[in-house]
C-alpha cells in the first residue's frame, strides 16, 4: 500500500489538521496562518489532479474508512464525475487563497484574520468532503460543516449589512439543511441504508412509495435552496454582495458548484434517470424553471446599480444553464452542463476578483463610480472583458463551448423553443456585461462629480498576488475553450456515468 491509495482520506483529514494548526499558530503569530492555508490548499489541488488522472486511467476509486465494507462502513468514492468537480473546485480554491491575502488585509479587521483562515480552510474541507463522499449522511455532515463556515465568513466583512446577509443565508440555509435531512431520513426508512450505491440498487423496488416521493421532493427543494435555483435564490444576492471579496469569490465559485454537484449526484446516482424521467417525471418542470431562471436572473442583473450585485444576479441566471442540462438529461446536454460548472466557476471567479480589485483600490463597487476605469486599471478591465466574453458565450471561450453543447443537447431532444431561451439568455448577458465595458472603457472620468479624489485613489492596479490569479483565470477561460478536447476526456465519461452507462 502506497501513499497514493490513501489520498482520498488525506484530502479531508489533512485540511482538518491544517485548520487546527492555523488556529494554534494564530495564537503565537498571525503571520503563520496564511502560509499554512496556502500550502494545504495547493497540495490538495495537486493531489486532486493526481487522483483524477488515476481515475481516468484505472476506474473508480473506493476508499473504505476503517476498512469496513460499504453497507456497514462509510466509503469515499471518486469517479470521473466527482473527480472532475474536485479538480475544478480546488483550482478555484487555490486561486482564491492566493488572491485572498492582500484583499483580506484590507477588508477584514486584523483580530479576525486568524479565524478567517481557519474558517476558510474548514469551508474548503467541508466542500471537498461533500464532493468525495459515497455516503448520503456523510454528505449532510460535510454540508453542515461548509455551511456554518460560510455563514460566519459572510459576516466577517466590516460592513454592518453583511450581518443581515449572513443571517438571511443562515435561516434559508438551515431550512434547506432541514429539508435535506428529512429527505435522507425518509430514504433510510424506506431502504435501511445510507450508502449511495446501495441506495441506487435498493430504491427501484420502492419507487411507488409515497415515502420515496416525499424524500425526493425534500432533497430537491433543499438542494435547490443551496444552489439558489431561481425562485429560491433570495439569499444569494445579499450574501454575494455584502461578504468580503475573497469570500465572494470562494462561495460564488466553489460552494455553489459543490451544491450543484450534490444535486446532480442525488438525482442521477441515487435516484437514477429511471426515477426522475419515467417514474416521477420531474425533468420537464426543472427545464421550465431553468428557462425562467436564465431570463429572470439576467433581467434582474441588468437592473442592478452595483457591480457585485449585478454579478450575483448573473450567477442566478448561470445556475439556470446548469439546471437546464439537468432538465434535458441527455448525454450532450449533460456534457454542456458539466463544462458549464467548470466554465462558470472560472469566469465568475475572475469577474468577482475584478470586482474585489476595484473595491480594493477604490473602496466602492457602484457602477456609476467606475467611469473611465480602463485608463487606471487596464489589466483588470481587460480580464473582465475576457471573462465577460466567456459569460456571453463568444467563441472561442469556455462559455461558448458549454452553451454550444447545451443548445446541441436541446436540439437533439427536440426542444427547439427552449434552445431559443438559451440564446436570449446570452443576449441578456451581453447587455449587463456591456454595461460595465461601456462605463469602464468609454465613460468619461471628467464627467464624474468627484474625479479629483477618484484619480488619486485609483491610480494603479492592485498588488501582483491579486492580479496573477485574476489574469490566470481570465486566460483559462480562453484556453479551456480552445483546448476543450482535453476537458472532454473527463467530461465525456462523467456524463455517461450520470446517465447510468460506462
Amino acid at each position: 500500500m502506497t501513499i497514493i491509495n490513501h489520498v482520498p482520506v488525506l484530502l479531508v483529514a489533512i485540511p482538518i489538521i491544517a485548520s487546527l494548526l492555523i488556529l494554534a499558530a494564530g495564537w503565537y503569530d498571525r503571520r503563520f496562518c496564511y502560509p499554512i492555508a496556502l500550502i494545504t490548499i495547493l497540495s490538495q489541488f495537486v493531489a486532486s489532479i493526481a487522483i483524477l488522472l488515476q481515475v481516468l486511467d484505472g476506474g473508480t476509486i473506493h476508499y473504505h474508512l476503517g476498512n469496513w465494507a460499504p453497507p456497514l462502513g462509510i466509503e469515499l468514492v471518486i469517479d470521473s464525475f466527482n473527480g472532475f468537480i474536485l479538480v475544478a473546485i480546488l483550482l478555484l480554491a487555490a486561486a482564491t487563497i492566493i488572491y485572498a491575502r492582500r484583499s483580506v488585509e484590507k477588508e477584514i479587521a486584523p483580530d479576525k484574520i486568524v479565524s478567517f483562515y481557519v474558517l476558510f480552510q474548514l469551508l474548503v474541507t467541508g466542500l471537498v468532503g461533500m464532493t468525495i463522499t459515497g455516503d448520503i449522511f456523510n454528505l449532510y455532515v460535510f454540508l453542515e460543516i461548509s455551511s456554518i463556515a460560510a455563514y460566519t465568513l459572510i459576516a466577517s466583512s466590516r460592513k454592518p449589512h453583511s450581518y443581515v446577509a449572513s443571517f438571511n443565508y443562515l435561516i434559508l440555509g438551515s431550512i434547506a439543511a432541514g429539508f435535506i435531512l428529512l429527505g435522507i431520513g425518509n430514504l433510510y426508512v424506506a431502504t435501511g441504508t445510507l450508502n449511495m450505491a446501495e441506495l441506487a440498487v435498493m430504491l427501484p423496488a420502492s419507487y411507488h412509495l409515497a415515502t420515496i416521493h416525499s424524500a425526493f421532493l425534500f432533497l430537491m427543494i433543499g438542494f435547490s435552496i443551496k444552489v439558489a435555483f431561481f425562485p429560491l435564490h433570495l439569499w444569494l444576492p445579499d450574501a454575494y454582495a455584502e461578504s468580503p471579496s475573497a469570500v465572494t469569490v470562494l462561495i460564488s465559485t466553489v460552494m455553489a458548484k459543490v451544491s450543484v454537484y450534490a444535486l446532480f449526484r442525488i438525482l442521477f446516482t441515487v435516484f437514477t434517470t429511471a426515477y426522475i424521467i419515467d417514474s416521477f417525471p420531474v425533468t420537464g418542470f426543472i427545464l421550465l424553471m431553468s428557462t425562467v431562471a436564465i431570463v429572470a436572473g439576467a433581467v434582474l442583473a441588468i437592473a442592478q446599480e452595483d457591480l457585485k450585485r449585478m454579478l450575483a444576479y448573473s450567477s442566478v441566471s448561470q445556475i439556470g444553464y446548469i439546471m437546464f442540462a439537468l432538465g434535458v438529461a441527455n448525454e450532450i446536454a449533460l456534457e454542456g452542463g458539466l463544462l458549464h460548472i467548470l466554465g462558470h466557476a472560472v469566469m465568475k471567479g475572475c469577474l468577482f476578483m475584478v470586482a474585489g480589485m476595484i473595491i480594493y483600490r477604490m473602496g466602492t463597487s457602484r457602477l456609476s463610480d467606475m467611469k473611465g476605469l480602463s485608463k487606471t486599471m487596464p489589466i483588470s478591465c481587460a480580464a473582465f472583458a475576457l471573462a465577460g466574453a466567456s459569460m456571453i458565450g463568444i467563441p472561442p471561450t469556455i462559455g461558448f463551448m458549454s452553451k454550444y453543447y447545451l443548445v446541441l443537447g436541446a436540439f437533439e431532444a427536440g426542444l427547439w423553443p427552449y434552445a431559443a431561451v438559451l440564446l436570449i439568455g446570452s443576449l441578456l448577458a451581453a447587455i449587463y456585461i456591456w454595461r460595465f465595458i461601456e462605463i469602464a472603457y468609454f465613460g468619461d472620468p471628467h464627467g464624474a462629480d468627484h474625479n479629483e479624489e477618484q484619480t488619486q485613489t485609483a491610480e494603479r492596479e492592485g498588488p501582483l498576488s491579486m492580479l496573477a490569479p485574476m489574469v490566470g483565470l481570465a486566460i483559462l477561460c480562453l484556453l479551456f475553450g480552445i483546448f476543450v478536447e482535453v476537458l472532454m476526456q473527463a467530461v465525456g465519461p462523467a456524463a455517461l456515468l450520470l446517465l447510468g452507462g460506462a
Binding site: H6, V9, I16, I17, W27, Y63
Partner: protein, 143 residues
C-alpha cells in the same frame, strides 16, 4: 441571596455525578450505545450548570478561552493521530485492527476506540463550552 444557597449546594453535588455519567457514556461508546458526541455534550452540560449556579466569571477562571482552544486542538489531534497511526501501520484510516496486528497486543482496538471517543468527547465539550461563553458572555474576551 437565599435561593442561591439551594441552587449552589445542589449543583455542587450534581456536577461530579454528571461528569462521571459523561465519562461513562464516552467509555460505553466502544461496546454499545453512547460515544464521544453524546458524552461530550453531557460533560459540557455540567459546565453549563456551573455557569448558571456560580456565574460566568467563576467558571472562566477555571477554564479560559485559551484552555478551550487547547482542549479542542488536543481532542481532534487525538482522533486524527490514531487515524494516521493506522495509516502508518499499513491499514486504512482509523483501521484499529491494523494497529492491533502491528503491535501484537490483543484487544488493543477496544482501547483505541475509547481513546478516539475520548478525543471526540474533549473536542465536543470544548466547543459546547465555547459556544456558551460566546452566547452568555457580554462580548468581551471573545475569539
Amino acid at each position: 441571596m437565599m435561593e442561591n444557597v439551594v441552587i449552589r449546594t445542589v449543583s455542587r453535588l450534581a456536577v461530579p455525578f454528571i461528569q462521571i455519567f459523561a465519562l461513562y457514556v464516552i467509555v460505553h461508546g466502544a461496546s454499545g450505545a453512547g460515544g464521544g458526541f453524546q458524552g461530550g455534550v453531557v460533560f459540557a452540560a455540567s459546565f453549563i450548570l456551573m455557569i448558571i449556579a456560580f456565574g460566568m466569571a467563576n467558571v472562566r477562571r477555571r477554564i479560559d478561552n485559551r484552555g478551550i482552544m487547547w482542549l479542542s486542538v488536543i481532542g481532534i489531534a487525538t482522533y486524527a493521530g490514531i487515524g494516521f497511526l493506522a495509516l502508518l501501520m499499513a491499514g486504512n484510516f482509523l483501521e484499529y485492527a491494523a494497529i492491533e496486528a502491528a503491535l501484537g497486543i490483543p484487544h488493543l482496538h477496544g482501547i483505541l476506540i475509547d481513546l478516539v471517543e475520548a478525543g471526540i468527547g474533549i473536542a465536543v465539550m470544548a466547543s459546547m463550552v465555547s459556544i456558551i461563553y460566546d452566547i452568555a458572555g457580554n462580548g468581551e474576551e471573545s475569539s
